[in-house]
């Protein structure tokens, strides 16, 4: 096989763009783990439902996918707030394995509800057909927009968490919940804000995914595994590292596809995760903080 510059360029750009989208799926998942120490598999269920929501809006002629996403994001923010008040309120008091069973159960409920309402069929939005071409590399406009939105939201979230007082407070309550309580931070409110943000991120991820890929109810389970894998690689609670890990996985997948095959690339990704868990359980990018 010859690796012409255009073939390599195609591989690199596709890998980076898809990886950014994976990162977008993982960020909200990682945020909730960071703040509430909950492994929220249901996150992928929210992404799935946003995908169906956007699909319905587009199919019924109500809105363009991006417009639908613009509505979905604040809507999900509000829903996330409500969910933290109700469904998730008692989760942080559960034991770790109960939490996983609970959130995974929620994911199954969301998945099978999608199956019930929308059927098991594959859905897929017609693409604009617009593409950007340079040096033999062809990139679908939707994919470029998706990657840009994912990167933009990762940067915005990173800025929010590292620059604003509220963002720092969210990180603080993730770092030492008891300490945060004792110094007067309202950790309950902060976890609601975090869940709301996580839902908003799920809405963003769902919107951009809808424009680039096919989906069906069981896709939710795959997305949950993907998010989990990325977050393990990035270090469970580091949101920006999760995004970077997503990009890495996307690049790795693209390279593995070009050199071998997607099956082998995916197997290698899982092998890599296993190695990370063994050697650097704190994730690739995280410094080990000493108390």
């Amino acid at each position: 096989m010859e690796f012409s510059p255009s073939v390599i360029g195609q591989m690199l750009f596709t890998g980076a763009l898809m990886g950014s989208i994976y990162g977008a799926v993982a960020m909200g998942f990682s945020l909730i783990f960071g703040v509430a120490k909950i492994i929220n598999f249901a996150h992928a269920g929210v992404v799935l439902w946003v995908m169906y929501g956007v699909l319905v809006a587009v199919r019924s002629g109500v809105a363009h996918p991006y417009v639908a996403g613009l509505v979905a994001i604040p809507l999900c923010y509000v829903i996330g707030h409500g969910v933290q008040r109700t469904l998730m309120a008692r989760v942080s008091a559960m034991s770790d394995d109960m939490q996983i069973i609970y959130t995974f159960g929620l994911l199954l409920v969301l998945t099978y509800m999608a199956q019930f309402f929308f059927g098991p069929d594959v859905h897929f939005l017609p693409s604009s057909g617009l593409a950007v071409e340079f040096g033999g590399v062809v990139l679908q406009v939707e994919t470029i927009i998706a990657g840009a939105l994912a990167l933009g939201s990762a940067l915005a979230l990173h800025a929010f968490l590292s620059r604003t007082w509220l963002g720092k407070a969210i990180r603080a309550s993730a770092d030492n919940r008891r300490g945060a309580t004792l110094m007067g931070l309202d950790v309950v409110r902060l976890s609601r804000v975090a869940m709301a943000l996580s839902f908003a991120l799920a809405a963003l991820a769902g919107t951009i995914l809808v424009t680039v890929t096919t989906f069906y109810p069981l896709r939710g389970l795959e997305l949950a595994v993907l998010a989990f894998v990325i977050v393990v690689l990035g270090g469970m609670d580091n949101v920006f590292a999760s995004f970077v890990a997503g990009v890495l996985i996307g690049m790795f997948e693209a390279l593995g596809t070009l050199l071998f095959s997607p099956s082998i690339a995916h197997m290698a990704i899982y092998a890599m995760i296993f190695a990370v868990l063994l050697v650097r359980p704190q994730g690739l990018f995280r410094r080990r903080a000493t108390k």
């Binding site: 007082w165 030492n176 309580t181 931070l185």
Partner: protein, 242 residues
Amino acid sequence: MSTTLSPILSVERLRVKYDLFEAVFDVSFEVWPGEAVCLLGSNGAGKTTSLRAILGALPIAGGRVCFLGDDTSGKSPGAMTMRGMIYVPEGRELFPSLTVLENLELGAITREARARTRASLELACELFPILAERRMQLAGTLSGGQQQMLAIARGLMGLPRLLMLDEPSLGLAPVVVEQVYAALGRIVRSGTPIILVEQHVHQALELCQRGYVLEGGRTVQQGSTAELAGSDRLRSAYLGVN
């Protein structure tokens, strides 16, 4: 005006339970404006439990706590902190993976404190110059003494109307304890009322004007620090080893 006539904090017959286990039976004390008060007592006497209950982090099972003239029952630590009651916890409870600067910034919890962040930071760094040097370092990488300084400085960032310090010298080398107490002396002299919980009785008695002795969840003695320093009871129960 009223502050000159009434105590900042008054605790009457406080009772606190951990589920069924009653840790504090009968604790009463007061802090008046500008005053530094120490709570002394051996390990397990109920000092930390009392402070946390006053802050609202533990439910009060009986008695009455008034802060700045208001009954505090049912208030959360968030609400108490907003009113100016700042707790510097036992064991420091910093945010280890946030930087020194971020830890300090988070101390400015009220709107007023946040508006004055810059001035407070200058003050804190003047008090503990080492923190200025280390401001971009993660809090978890500081030495024990530096962490304690950061915890105190973080408390000051909230512009306390009452600063409650829980064993600030715990686990520190004697030289470092000296440094910490030098800073506490400046805080007291600036007029900020403090409650100091200590096992290092000597320093506490030197710093404060008045003190209370807790034993088995009860206040068993109170008086000026001069009186307490001469007390046989304190000596035998608590300073015996010294």
